[in-house]
Structures are given as structure tokens and as C-alpha cells.
């Protein structure tokens, strides 16, 4: 299956839920959906055997970028402070890569549903999202630390843009 056919197929497949669709690169298609539709959309991809989940990426958009998102859509919430997150679910099918883009409304409300029920191997990526960004993944089976040390302080999320390491010098 060549790339364009694959994209056509997935565009049709995700038609009911897609808020906007954009082909960013010759082999990269971004489809934005609301988080409420994430599970049915992933289910549709699995049922149609369209590719496999390659990774989940979290993005932190600082305030300005979040207010003027790269590709305009109905979200985000105008009341946001501190920016917001984007979660990208990368599905690969041959040469074609689909970014399923979920945009929780603000930094206060970061919940996204877990897809572990559909794709068990997503647990590692979801744990990474929780650790690195503080994104709340609802219903993920394992919430323990994956990469960060056990004594890592709560509420400190290293991949957020406002994180620059502890400011106060440690006593040596």
C-alpha cells in the first residue's frame, strides 16, 4: 500500500472524529481529535489493522504557543495559564505515519484516557507521560515510577518547559 492510499484510508476511517487533518510531511499526517473520541478512534485503527502504535509523545506548549496553536481548532480553553499539553499518538503503517493529536484543554485539566486496554504495550509510554509532563492518564494500569528515581519529588515534571532544574544550590 503506498503512502497516499494509506492516508486516504485513515482519513476516511477517522472521519467521524477528526476535528482537523493536515499533512505536515510527505509521510506524516496529523489528525486532531478530542480526547473523548480517542478510544473509539484507536479502536477503529486497530479493527481496520491500520499500522501499529510506534510511540506516544507529549508536548508542552508554553502559554503563547498554546493560545495560538499551530493549526487552529476549537480548543484550547481561553482561561489557560501556564500553557497546555498535546499528546501525539504515532501510528506507523509502512511508510505512512499518523499522528493522532489530542489536546487537553489546559494545564489544570490534563486528563487523557488510557489506551492500555486496547494496546497493552502503551503502558510504558503512558507512564513516561505521567512522569515527565504530569499528564493524567486515566485508567492506566501501572502508575509507578518508570524512569525517574523513587525519591523524585511529587509535582516536578522535568520535560515541562518551565522546568530548568532546581534553582537553589545544593549543599555539597
Amino acid at each position: 500500500m503506498d503512502t497516499q492510499t494509506a492516508f486516504q484510508e485513515v482519513t476516511d476511517l477517522l472521519q467521524p472524529w477528526a476535528r482537523w487533518t493536515k499533512q505536515v510531511q510527505p509521510n506524516l499526517l496529523t489528525v486532531s481529535i478530542s480526547r473523548a473520541h480517542l478510544l473509539p478512534a484507536v479502536k477503529a485503527l486497530i479493527d481496520a489493522r491500520w499500522g501499529y502504535l510506534s510511540a506516544i509523545t507529549g508536548l508542552h506548549l508554553p502559554l503563547a504557543a498554546a493560545l495560538a496553536p499551530a493549526y487552529d481548532g476549537p480548543e484550547p480553553d481561553p482561561l489557560i495559564t501556564g500553557g497546555s499539553f498535546v499528546v501525539l499518538y504515532h501510528f506507523c503503517n509502512g511508510d505512512a505515519v499518523l499522528n493522532l493529536r489530542v489536546h487537553p484543554p489546559s494545564i489544570k485539566d490534563t486528563r487523557v484516557p488510557s489506551i492500555c486496554g486496547l494496546i497493552p504495550s502503551a503502558t510504558l509510554y503512558e507512564r513516561e507521560l505521567m512522569e515527565m509532563f504530569g499528564i493524567e492518564v486515566e485508567g492506566t494500569p501501572d502508575t509507578s515510577h518508570l524512569l525517574l528515581p523513587d525519591e523524585w519529588p511529587d509535582g516536578v515534571y522535568p520535560l515541562r518547559k518551565d522546568y530548568h532544574g532546581p534553582a537553589a544550590p545544593a549543599q555539597l
Binding site: 509521510n27 496529523t30 510506534s54 506507523c92 511508510d95
Partner: protein
């Protein structure tokens, strides 16, 4: 008294430091006698904050930082990143540079698979095979050193091309080295598939069925040994894989033996492709100009590392530093297969099963902060503090 009937369960901790592990990782295997009944994994011991670090360095510095994610497959990381940045900047690299990148990548695959062969033999207590395969690996290390200027971190890539050319003398050296390696690989293939004591340790051990490999999202030789056709070099040809294609190596044995066979057959395939490329090297410049500031864009770059699919997501923001780089290494996909396949096996097989996916801990743990296990008020140190500490310590 009543509890006496209950068999006692043992938890065998493997790691963070353990002779079977070349890098730190922690596993807990619940055993009943010699049989493993449960397994859990904990990663993060070699977490270095690379993803965050990339956001604070420019594109060129990131190339070398990302190359250091892994000490075995350094070139594929640099290649995946360079290809991604070139996509972001809309730059096309000359075929000659692409071909040289592919030669280095395939030589690296040979080096990585031979290293794995030795490690797996060592886990099986077959020291002689270990010593011999590592001895012969020196050949390919020498080739890489002569070609790129270093044994491990080749740094053959620059953004927009490669640093090193393949001269006719080097071409001859590569062909000579490959002749020797082909002969040796045939020998190891024979040993691995015929030696009864070794077969006793690999045949039927660590079975990962086709369905399991599919649902767990295994990649690379681990998946291909279970019959899953998953090879980025074919699915999404990058570099010059469309002009010099590889054949996909499949095996439906699903066990450790199949993983040995697949990896060794891939060595032949790599060697064949390298010969083809060096004999038909396209002409052209080695580098093209790259802008320092990359316009705002997104790109995904996928490369077949020796261990499987390596996935890079890059997002630029118009400055000379990337907005976000996400690295998903092949090892992380294969972890779950270990935890699943280990159950029901004898403890003695566990190191082999672990080694079977060719795990790379450094690849699995990348991003964020330098931490110290020692006490103190703050357990989180900045780089500067850690450096100061190091200076104090060694003074």
C-alpha cells in the same frame, strides 16, 4: 503449621548490578524452585536527561548528544536525527553521502550483532564462542575506525551529509574484512545450529508467538524471529535502501534459536549490501549547506537500528534549538516481551531470554536529571553542582 503446605516463594532480584547485565536495570523474578512464576522490570538507572538536554542545545550539538544515547548503535541515532532535521529544513542530501551513511549503518549492524552473539553465548556459559565472536568483531571495529576515525562514536554524520569519504583503499579493506567475516559468520551459523549443548539452551526457550509479538509491539530481530515482517529498511526505505535493498530475514521458530538464526542471517545480508554499495558508490559531494535556524515544522524519522525500529519525533520552532525531540528506542518496545516470555521458564534460562532481545538499557532510559543516591539536603543536582562535586572529590 497449616502454612507448611504452602510452597515458599523466592524473589530473585537481578540487578541493578548483576553479572548477567552489562548495564544497570532491575528485574525481580519470583521463582518456585527453579521455575519462574512472575517477573517485573524497573528501568531508569542510566537516565541522563538527553531529551531535555536537546531542547537547550543547538541542532549541531544535539547531533553528538543524541549519538551518545547508545554506545553500540551510535550511528543509527545520529542518522535518524540527521534525517529528521534535514526533513525539517527541506534539505536533500547527496546520494553519495546517503550511501556512505548506509555503509556505516550496516557495518554497525554487523558489529552490534556480533557483540550480541558473544554476550548471548556468555549468558549461556559458552565462553569459547564468546571469545571467538568478539575476536572477529575486532575486524569490523577496525574497519569502522579506519573509515570514520573512531571505534564506537563514529561521528560520521554532520547535518547535511557525512564527514568521511570511502577511498579506493578503504573499499579494498572493507571487502577484505567482509570476506573474512563472511567465512566466520558461516562458521558461527554452523556452531549455533548444530552444537547439541548450545541447542539445549536455545531450542524451544523463550517462545514468543506471532500473536504475542504482534500485540506486544516487538520490533527488530525479536519480532522477525517470530515471523512478524517488521523492518523499516523495507517498509519505509531511507538513505539508499530503495536502490540497494535488503531482503527481510524471517524465521518462524519463535524461540531463542530463531533469534540467533535471524541475527546471523542478517549479518550475511548486511555484508551483501555493503559490497553492493561500495562497488557502485554514487558520485557527488559529501555535504550540502544546512541553515542554522530551522523553520517551524514537525517531522518523524524512522530508522532500522540493529535492535529494531528507532523512532524520532522532532519539532522545530524557528530558532537554532529544537522545540522537542522524542526518541523511542527499539529496546523499550521489546521489554514487555521479556516479562511475558520469562514466565514458566527455568531460572537458568532467564539471562538468555534477557539477552535474547539484545537489550540496551542506555537506550531505554534517556531524558532528564542528574541525581545522586547519596544523602544531603537536595538530592537533585544541577550539572554545575555535580561538576563542582567531581572537582572537589578528585582534588
Amino acid at each position: 503449621m497449616a502454612n507448611q503446605t504452602k510452597t515458599e516463594k523466592f524473589i530473585i532480584p537481578i540487578g541493578p548490578q548483576h553479572p548477567a547485565l552489562k548495564e544497570p536495570g532491575h528485574f525481580e523474578f519470583t521463582v518456585d524452585g527453579e521455575i519462574v512464576t512472575g517477573a517485573t522490570a524497573r528501568l531508569g538507572y542510566v537516565h541522563r536527561g538527553i531529551e531535555k538536554g536537546c531542547e537547550e542545545r543547538n541542532y549541531i550539538q544535539d547531533l553528538y548528544l543524541l549519538e551518545r544515547i547508545c554506545g553500540i548503535c551510535s550511528h543509527v541515532h545520529a542518522t535518524a536525527y540527521a534525517l529528521g532535521v534535514e526533513k525539517l529544513a527541506n534539505v536533500t542530501v547527496t546520494p553519495r553521502a546517503q550511501a556512505i551513511r548506509q555503509v556505516v549503518a550496516e557495518l554497525e549492524r554487523i558489529h552490534s550483532h556480533m557483540l550480541w552473539l558473544g554476550v548471548a553465548a556468555h549468558e549461556a556459559g559458552f565462553e569459547t564462542l564468546f571469545m571467538y565472536s568478539w575476536r572477529d568483531r575486532e575486524t569490523v571495529m577496525d574497519l569502522l575506525e579506519g573509515l570514520t576515525g573512531n571505534r564506537v562514536h563514529y561521528s560520521a554524520n554532520v547535518l547535511g551529509g557525512v564527514k568521511c569519504d570511502i577511498t579506493p583503499e578503504q573499499r579494498d579493506a572493507i571487502l577484505r574484512g567482509l570476506d573474512y567475516l563472511d567465512e566466520r559468520m558461516q562458521y558461527y551459523m554452523n556452531v549455533v545450529t548444530s552444537d547439541e549443548t548450545f541447542l539445549g539452551r536455545t531450542r524451544g526457550v523463550g517462545v514468543l508467538t506471532y500473536e504475542q509479538a504482534e500485540t506486544l509491539g516487538s520490533v527488530g530481530p525479536t519480532a522477525r524471529a517470530s515471523g512478524v515482517t517488521r523492518d523499516i529498511r523495507l517498509e519505509s526505505p531511507y538513505l539508499v535502501y530503495s536502490e540497494f535493498p535488503v531482503k527481510v530475514i524471517l524465521d518462524d521458530g519463535c524461540d531463542l534459536l530463531a533469534r540467533f538464526v535471524v541475527r546471523i542471517k542478517e549479518l550475511f545480508e548486511s555484508s551483501r549490501v555493503i559490497r553492493l554499495i561500495v562497488d557502485n558508490l554514487p558520485a557527488g559531494e559529501l555535504t550540502v549547506r544546512m541553515p542554522r535556524r530551522i523553520p517551524e515544522n514537525e517531522a518523524v524519522s524512522r530508522v532500522e537500528a540493529p535492535r529494531g525500529e528507532l523512532f524520532y519525533y522532532l519539532k522545530s520552532n524557528g530558532t537554532d534549538m529544537p522545540e522537542r525531540i522524542k526518541v523511542r528506542t527499539p529496546s523499550i518496545c521489546n521489554w514487555s516481551s521479556v516479562v511475558v516470555t520469562a514466565i514458566g521458564h527455568k531460572l537458568a534460562d532467564i539471562p538468555m531470554i534477557l539477552a535474547g532481545i539484545d537489550p540496551c538499557f542506555s537506550c531505554s532510559d534517556r531524558s532528564v536529571q542528574i541525581c545522586s543516591a547519596s544523602g544531603g539536603v537536595s538530592k537533585i543536582w544541577t550539572w554545575e553542582q555535580l561538576r563542582q562535586y567531581g572537582i572537589e572529590y578528585y582534588r
